[in-house]
């Protein structure tokens, strides 16, 4: 494979891994913020324990995901310096906004939330988790805005051989931005809901003694999924007219890879929509738990939203080729002047560390999730995480 192919493969691999972390982070932080709100309002300690248990899973995922985010940011300059040289003025602006307005603040708020546990006033502490959630969605907002520029460039003009930004509001109003952003938000909520449901179901399969704890978690998960999926599917299909209008080639040149991705995504979306709504009435008197077999399906279903998200992302990105910035800059021209060996080294290095991160993340989350909400913590897994 030549340098271009390797660089593309590297970007696809690392972004896919990164996306897995992001989805769970966004989905879980919303659930945790909801739990903590109830914990702050109610006297029942179960809500505080739920916040702690699910919050810990969230923090593990965030803390490892941040490492993938840092690498993502550097990759643009490393392998795609043509993009920053030619379109950096415009494409770089939302990316810089993401790091400043969202990422920078988010991590600061989160650090304070983690170590402010039991030390800060409970209302201040609650405000912090909502600020973390808000800045997390702001991250998605700016990233999708940057991506929308690649799909359908708007708000720029060509001057002295490079693109200059002329209208920031036109970038905001980009038709390939809003619907796609909402689609991603509801995909994350769905991923969070399915994750909550699946982990809770696992504990019911093992006949947990924490019935109240996991009943509430399961209900939140099912309701979150049932509320998110109709909008998820709606904003998904809402993008077809936009794609047909602005990127007609995307639908015509659909290949094996992006076609499969699209197909999987649509099927999984419908399955989750249907199943979550069938499950809602079964929450009455814990029928769904007593029937038992749905519990197994819930556990098996945990990876589905993630598979769908990767499929959707492949369709959005592969379908744009050979353009990096639609109609303006080809992927080939955007490639840095680096040798094949250098790209090979970075491809192997980043794929290896990202795979390591993902496996570490899943193993640790699975271990913590299986252990359940134990109050005493005799075997801390990290100096950061036990602070919760």
């Amino acid at each position: 494979m030549d340098a271009l192919g390797l660089a593309r493969l590297q970007f696809a691999t690392t972004t896919s891994f990164h996306f897995l972390f992001v989805l769970l982070t966004l989905g879980l932080v919303t659930a945790v913020a909801l739990m903590q709100t109830r914990a702050t309002l109610s006297a029942d300690p179960v809500h505080a324990r739920m916040t702690r248990f699910w919050g810990r899973l969230y923090v593990v995922n965030y803390a490892l995901g941040i490492a993938t985010g840092i690498v993502m940011e550097f990759q643009f300059g490393l392998n795609w310096s043509g993009l920053s040289t030619y379109a950096g003025d415009v494409f770089g602006a939302p990316l810089a906004m993401e790091t400043l307005v969202a990422f920078f603040l988010e991590s600061t708020f989160l650090g304070l939330w983690i170590f402010g546990w039991d030390r800060l006033n409970k209302w201040v502490h609650l405000a912090l988790i909502w600020l973390v959630a808000l800045t997390a969605y702001a991250s998605a907002f700016w990233i999708m805005m940057a991506n929308a520029f690649l799909q359908h460039p708007a708000g720029h003009e060509l001057r002295d051989g490079v693109l200059r930004m002329v209208d920031f509001s036109a970038m905001l109003a980009n038709p390939t931005f809003g619907t796609a952003f909402l689609h991603v938000c509801f995909a994350a909520l769905t991923a969070g809901g399915v994750f909550l449901t699946g982990v809770s179901a696992y504990h019911f399969i093992r006949r947990t003694a924490e019935v109240d704890f996991f009943r509430r978690s399961l209900r939140l998960g099912v309701v979150l999924t049932a509320l998110a999926t109709p909008l998820l599917v709606g904003f998904g299909f809402g993008q077809f007219p936009i794609v047909e209008r602005y990127q007609p080639d995307k639908m015509d040149t659909v290949g094996a890879l992006d076609g499969t991705g699209l197909g999987f995504m649509i099927q999984i979306g419908f399955v989750l929509l249907l199943v979550s709504w069938v499950t809602v009435p079964l929450l009455f008197r814990d029928w769904v738990v007593r029937m038992r077999f749905p519990l197994y399906l819930m556990v098996i279903g945990i990876p589905l939203p993630f598979v769908a998200a990767i499929g959707g992302w492949l369709f959005r990105e592969v379908g744009r080729q050979p353009w990096l910035v639609q109609g303006l800059l080809t992927t080939q021209d955007a490639m840095s002047h680096v040798g094949q060996d250098q790209v090979l080294v970075s491809f192997v290095a980043f794929t290896a560390v990202f795979a390591l991160l993902a496996v570490a993340d899943w193993v640790l989350i699975a271990r913590l999730a299986r252990r359940g909400p134990v109050s005493s913590d005799e075997a801390p897994v990290s100096p950061l995480v036990p602070a919760l």
């Binding site: 003025d89 991590s107 650090g111 990290s382």
Partner: protein, 281 residues
């Protein structure tokens, strides 16, 4: 507007070196200062409240580099492709190893910290045109000194003593690096580079004097500025940050507004983190 963005980039980069510098320093010294598992845990606990907050200064700096200095970003990163690849791989390993702390992962933690510290040194050396090996080793020494000073401030008892001894022992090698960096700086860098070196030596003296008198905060302040100085010195001497690599006024205006709102907020909340962990001691 251009001046604001240059100041912002310098501020974020210096903030990253001054803050994350002690993370890496503590990582390098982990097995040296923490002789057994219990004390190693104590060493890491001193760092973890600040860990997330320190790391994001890098993210913010690179974000501003991309948005406001797009042509410098592409040029700098792609021309130093391998250095950045190795550095980032080290950074990921270090982050994971700190988060998933387990004695079996310590080689990743110490190794990752070493690679990141040396990586930044090599990068600065290359931009300046000085010898890479010297700069790589130099930044490891500077960050280790900073980490040791931080631990001397935040720990107590035997660990504090050991951290203080390590820090004092690192002052001379650090001074040797500063002198060697000036001597090998090559083709006539701006006189500002020499001034930076004089300031660095003065700060090293400050660290030594403050540690002797048990003034840990002063020592920490001195070593923090010391870690940020090489960035200022190198980029100042080579004047790579010019208007021609910068984005257009319209882009800079948007970014400046964002920075005006966000940077004070981050400062307030990061200060709150420091204040809170002080109150908890």
């Amino acid at each position: 507007m251009q001046g604001v963005q240059i100041a912002l980039l310098a501020f974020l980069t210096c903030g990253y070196f001054a803050l994350a510098g002690f993370d890496y320093g503590v990582g390098v010294l982990l097995r040296l200062i923490g002789r057994d598992e219990r004390s190693r845990r104590e060493v890491l606990r001193a760092v973890t409240p600040f860990f997330l907050g320190n790391e994001v200064w890098l993210v913010a700096a690179v974000g501003v580099l991309f948005g406001a200095f797009p042509r410098l970003e592409g040029e700098l990163l792609s021309s130093q492709h391998t250095v950045f690849t190795v550095l980032l791989a080290g950074l990921v390993c270090f982050t994971v190893a700190v988060q998933l702390r387990s004695p079996a992962w310590d080689f990743l933690l110490v190794g990752g910290a070493l690679v990141v510290a040396a990586g930044w040194g090599v990068l600065l050396g290359r931009v300046l045109g000085g010898p890479s090996v010297l700069w790589g080793a130099g930044l490891v020494v500077l960050f280790s000194l900073h980490g040791a000073v931080f631990l001397a401030w935040r720990l107590s008892g035997g660990l504090r003593e050991r951290a203080t001894r390590t820090a004092v022992a690192l002052v001379l090698p650090a001074a040797a690096f500063v002198v060697a960096a000036v001597l090998t700086a090559g083709s006539a860098p701006a006189p500002a580079f020499g001034m930076t070196a004089v300031a660095a030596l003065a700060l090293l003296g400050g660290v030594w004097w403050a540690l002797r008198g048990g003034r840990h905060r002063v020592a920490f302040g001195c070593s923090a500025v010391l870690c940020a100085l090489p960035v200022v010195g190198v980029f100042g001497a080579r004047s790579v940050v010019t208007v021609s690599v910068m984005a257009d006024e319209s882009t800079l205006r948007v970014l400046t507004w964002a920075a005006v709102v966000v940077v004070p907020l981050v400062l307030v909340f990061q200060w709150a983190t420091w204040w809170m962990s002080r109150a908890a001691r």
